[in-house]
Homo-oligomer: 472 residues x 4
């Protein structure tokens, strides 16, 4: 592939070897390894509903409750294996499922033939076993203005020109996860739009190295350590990129929505319903690793992990809450007439609120158990740990538990730092959308007037109790 | 039926007419009404897996995820209709499903024929459309002693004698819900037991008025109001009773476990897994009524309910969390070889912890929105409200919102008092077992060593990290 | 005194003997007992700053940090002695201190002589050792309308007529605590007012039995039990009344603010600053009793109280947080030029938010430790407990811990019911004003722009960062 | 001073110029600047109780409530100025005050003359205006073993030899804050000790560059950025060091406790009482900066900061709770006979529990308001921001609010990253001791038996309710 990814002003020639992207590529590779590992193969592969062939699960259509529950299980497992987010095994997967349903509606109502195009692309992706990142979030510009009011039109990715053979897109998608490990990028609109903003209504797929696309990786806490030797950072990572589209051409066959602005709301609705149901599994999986790290740290400190049972239980409760509530959202969902599962929005958005809060408590508990050494990474560097002059003294200082080496204690402390204060923090607050947005959906899905009627009947109230008129 | 229920030292001649039990009977009756109401009939009836006949759902076997989700939905609906717990539509239902699975195991392993007996009884219950309370909790006695060590053997219900035609049981079951509205009482062991305590290992079913059984209803907050005229209490209620068994004879056909102590653990395990999954729907349903009551109160105070949107959303989040996590526990459950569904214990017990905390917050939010008048029932009595001398002044004081009468505001305040501080509080803390017990189950179901291995691999730690040896 | 208090449509002839008021009078009497008890005398008495005589502390001016801290300590102690609120030892006390400062300002700025009048009254109150309830909260009417817009003018207490020798007041004060045990009632405006509402701007003091005043006590959870024999309710209580003023004459010497609406804001400001600082001690004191009750219940259940150490510690943390933050508000306060202490508003209102939330958690923890018997008062009545026929069986059922009688367990369960779900719940949410109001004060007292400047300097930002202009 | 500080295996020649320490030195320097700034001078200077001369406040004895409140105010102000912890203006200050009291007790009881030595040193420190770091925490070794049982004696700093002219100390103090900016280091024992561990009982003061002392700075989140150009890190910092003592000689005059193990408990008790009272001001000050940063970020995003009023209020509540509760602990404290203030331990330790939890919530709220760009530092680096090729596009992507530049938005995002996930996180969990330790102190200071007596009296229980006997 063409080199088009930059970080720290430097072009990354080979994503599989460069320190800024190598770990992310390897993290994603564990998903492919799992597909060939007897322990995980059932979870990581499935049969294509189109071709009947065995495919990677993250390229599949989710056509039943069992299918979507396996999405959640796969993500939790990926966190177990990597400790963090593998964006290119996740967003694109959900995107194609959601579009499968929406193109069905569009074709039916508008007479378009988007679904056939999408099917062709999915078949190709299944056959090749592609990793597909998803790009929704635009740079956005001024949050108080609509897209068409933005002084800088490139603040949102938009259609610059529609040609007979395809479209020209330009603008900026921001904070896109896993691109460095992706073969392709599935583009969805970042919001619902009105008529005047319809140029932003675009869904399509592009190769990661498509001409006109420049990718700049963001810097994250302690990411310099990725350039170092030693154990100050674990051998796994996450990337988040800004995608700069400068008149990128997308051929017709890869365009699945083009200015049909009235369908963006549907895309957002379906996408968030599934995504926010499944994201509970992600934070649960990372929380599981935090339980393991905290218990290991207790032992490395010389204490039994059972000393901290109450806190470990609290951590589990947090993990299982987001996991189980997500599963509940799936189970209360339903199959779309087009054939792909849509989770229940009320439960899914309720879950998002927990996903934006409980992991913070789990991190706090992890630091609480681990002690000062892990709380703020309060530990000399690998270089100091191995310094020929005073390194032995540092190791003496770090050694604690009888059965564990100084290095084990140091590595565990660094893992906890990375999980709670470092590049392993995957952005549960705003990733997949902000909790404030979720609360709006919750409000819209709460039938207050119906609940008032229940209360009225139980209280024996017969007069109507309307909302007071607004004062003028 | 024989009169054997007492309260305040008085024998209740007719449970359908006496103020202490009338409301509970009527609450349960709403379940029967619903079975004949086109809006609710699908939820409140189903087809018997034994006879193929249409039956009340709360007499059915739950043989699929859909079946058990309908259990949760039915309970949430019952709370919508009554504002509180209808114990006799719930515990007995779960009890017979759980025993269906356990008698299957017993028959297979011990060569008993319990399941056939149970089937006969269930068929009868389905045919007659019985309401069946369930009785698990024993009086217990000294919590630090095992049953066989109790100075007072009647602290637990136990088998006094096994005869050829049946058994003689005696002892005390406490805090049993809905008995006054029940036809029969399904008895399960209250805990797991060891060999020496095997007399407490008994499962059977008795008529509510079986000879030798005396029932004493407990007194609950503000229950005197049930004896009054007026609106200081809504027209719905809950009952909780002490069951005093003095050598009650249970014929063989109604005995489903008799001293096989080693199966009590299974009963508790299956029972709590389902019960704690479903109880999330109960507290959600009551929370829905609290949302309705709070919104109504805001209006009765003269304010738009939207003023309190943030708090109403928080209430919804609490409700949907326990509901949805319960559904998640069901969806991660599985069918027992005998044919009845068992929910996932880890998620179910996690849910119990939330059931023991979130409703307290929902109540607090309800009082927060409602204002001082509802917080502590700070409102003159119905008698004062209608006093010929100063009643008009009291009504003037209570009248607030332009569109609502003083009576509506008073009734709403009393409903909120009842829901948050009164007899409508159904005991979400210890009902269905205590959260501390749930936490033990959570701990047992958390694979800490497995999580440590994930953490080790990510941190690059190769040495084993065992728990330190215990000091002697 | 004239009989003018009613409950359940009945005139209470003697407040010291009638079951509806007797316990409240006795609760307040414990404050007088304490003044003569060597253990408590230093706290419950002090020296008058006016006369130099020894007086009851709750009639004193608070002229130093030590003085106001003793206010908090006295309240916490009163809760230790009674388990609940003794309103007539508290609100009137604060009212006179606050008015001392405000009359000083008024006299200085308006040339009035209110302070001299107030001093005379205080001297009399100190000499006679009066208990003085305070009345701020009006019935209010429609919460979306200002006083002068209310369809019912009596929704707020207001000046009907100003005469040369005094004023005529009418209207309704609601939810006034401790009146039954009070000699006098100190009236303050319930809010700040504008010119058009100036008739509501009135501060004065009246005898509890002043002609034209009718008092109706509200009904509270389980208050019927006050009319019964036995131990289903403890021997202490709280009262909250509606005060119906129908053209009550107040002589000049007892009027301290009369239509000077622009000073109402000051009164509210000073009153809430002190009140919300001190109320932390009240809920702490009740929380202490809950700790005692929970620990006692654990033992009565047969368990060591240390089993619940983590929960008991959490309860203490809640108690000490509201107590200590209140003390912090006092310590950051200052002496008013008139001589009476004013606590810091930002910390006092922050405390109010905790006072409206933490006691709910303390109650939950208390129920958690105590078990099902106390959670919802799930226990047969005293009548059933002593029933000649089955009472022995009930007592057998209730007896648990080896060292404690069935009666002790029952009494403890009833105490916890009363504290957490009964008439002992003193209204920490809206009592002394609602938390939403407190949050507004907090916002007003947070110097956001100053904090932005700190952030700017640390981030090295030099351009101004103004609030965006409002769209039109 | 002698160069004896290392980081990344490199000797730091000049702490005022080296990137690893420069910012910390400058942060501390702001305390000296403030002493000469008319706005702050009253807070940052005071009069010596020994010499009557004007001195820096952080070298003073705290002899009154006002004095110790000024300690809290000074710390909150330092956080306003630097955004983080200035350890050398804080721990040493408290250490000398605490030892002033303890040496008084020792001299009185043991006939030693430690206080006179201490006074001489304090006079010198006041005269020279020294910054003094404090070192309590030892490396500790195996947490399940006492000091004398440690396989590695250097795990704790200990007395190797007592000579006539002084002592020889060796061992390791870990995670010591602000050493790089300190002139001297005040050493206190890290725990209470028994006879067999008395070599660890040592209090003394050494110059930062004393022979035999090697200092290794720890690495903290994103500390590499301190070596870079640009705005990816603000111009302020914190340091935390491991102090390796290899037979360091301390002359008699600088030794204030030498093997008198029975006084270590007192030191810990007094030290934590003051420290945990004051630390509430530290986290409040950092929380204030987070409020400023969040409000600024909202504007930089194009939104009014008032959009987030509810969250900003919650942040203020967190800040004022730890600040105000700390003040409460001070106000309930008392003057020691030796003349230095001791805060109330129960309130101080309660505060520590909040200090270990509330800042995590404040950080979460800060990230919640700020959006994804700040949550995980999801922003390209300064190098990419200014890249000649695509830098303009990145700036276009980052620019949002109409009135704010892209650079302001980027700088604010980096500030929030630093405050919530970076080197500005000062370790509120275990800094100054862990919350679990605080909870033990809380338990010891809760008079449970007294609270039981209150509960008993209110419930009318006359029999004793003892703790059950332990089973054998």
């Amino acid at each position: 592939m063409r080199s088009n990814i930059y970080k720290f002003g430097e072009l990354i020639e080979d994503v599989t070897a460069h320190p800024a992207t190598r770990r992310t590529v390897e993290s994603h590779a564990r998903g492919f390894d799992a597909a060939h590992d007897p322990v995980y193969a059932d979870l990581f592969t499935t049969v294509s509903s189109f071709s009947g062939e065995k495919i990677l699960r993250f390229n599949s259509m989710m056509q039943s409750l069992e299918d979507i529950i396996n999405n959640a299980k796969l993500k939790r497992t990926m966190y177990h294996l990597t400790g963090t987010c593998s964006g290119a095994l996740c967003v694109g997967w959900n995107a194609q499922n959601v579009l499968w349903n929406v193109t069905f509606e569009m074709d039916k109502e508008l007479g378009t033939n988007y679904q056939a195009r999408l099917k062709n692309w999915i078949l190709m992706a299944q056959e090749k076993g592609l990793t597909v990142a998803g790009a929704l979030t635009d740079a956005k510009g001024d949050r108080s203005l609509k897209p068409s009011q933005q002084p800088e039109p490139d603040s949102l990715l938009h259609i610059k020109e529609v040609r007979s053979d395809g479209i020209l897109i330009r603008g900026i998608k921001a904070m896109i996860c896993g691109v460095a490990a992706a073969n392709e990028i599935f583009i969805l609109p970042g919001s619902s739009y009105r008529e005047e903003d319809k140029d932003c209504a675009v869904a399509c797929v592009v190769a990661r190295d498509v001409p006109g696309l420049t990718i700049v990786e963001t810097r994250r806490p302690s990411d310099n350590r990725e350039y170092e030797e030693g154990f100050d950072i674990p051998d796994t990572a996450i990337t988040q990129a800004y995608l700069l589209f400068e008149d990128v051409f997308v051929p017709r066959e890869r365009v699945f929505l083009c200015r049909e602005f009235q369908y963006c709301q549907k895309i957002i609705e379906y996408f968030t319903a599934n995504y926010r149901a499944c994201i509970g599994a992600c934070v649960a999986g990372q929380g599981d690793v935090m339980i393991g790290a905290a218990a290991m740290m207790a032992r490395a400190n010389g204490l039994a992990s059972t000393t901290f049972n109450a806190k470990l239980i609290e951590m589990t409760i947090n993990n299982e809450t987001t996991f189980g509530l997500g599963i509940g959202a799936m189970a209360m969902g339903k199959i779309h007439p087009a054939g792909s599962w849509i989770s229940d929005p009320l439960l899914a958005h309720t879950n998002k609120v927990h996903v934006a809060t409980l992991p913070y408590e789990t991190k706090r508990l992890c630091q609480d158990i681990a002690g000062g050494i892990a709380e703020t990474g309060c530990l000399p560097s690998f270089k100091d740990f191995t310094d020929p002059c005073y390194g032995q003294l540092i190791q003496k200082a770090v050694k604690a538990g009888k059965n564990t080496s100084a290095e084990t204690r140091a590595r565990t402390a660094r893992l906890i730092e990375w999980l709670t204060l470092g590049a392993g923090v995957p952005g549960c607050m705003h990733g997949g959308g902000s909790p404030d947005g979720a609360k709006q959906v919750i409000r819209l899905n709460t039938p207050i007037e119906e609940y008032i009627q229940y209360a009225q009947k139980i209280a024996g109230i017969t007069e109507a109790v309307p909302e007071p008129e607004k004062k003028k």
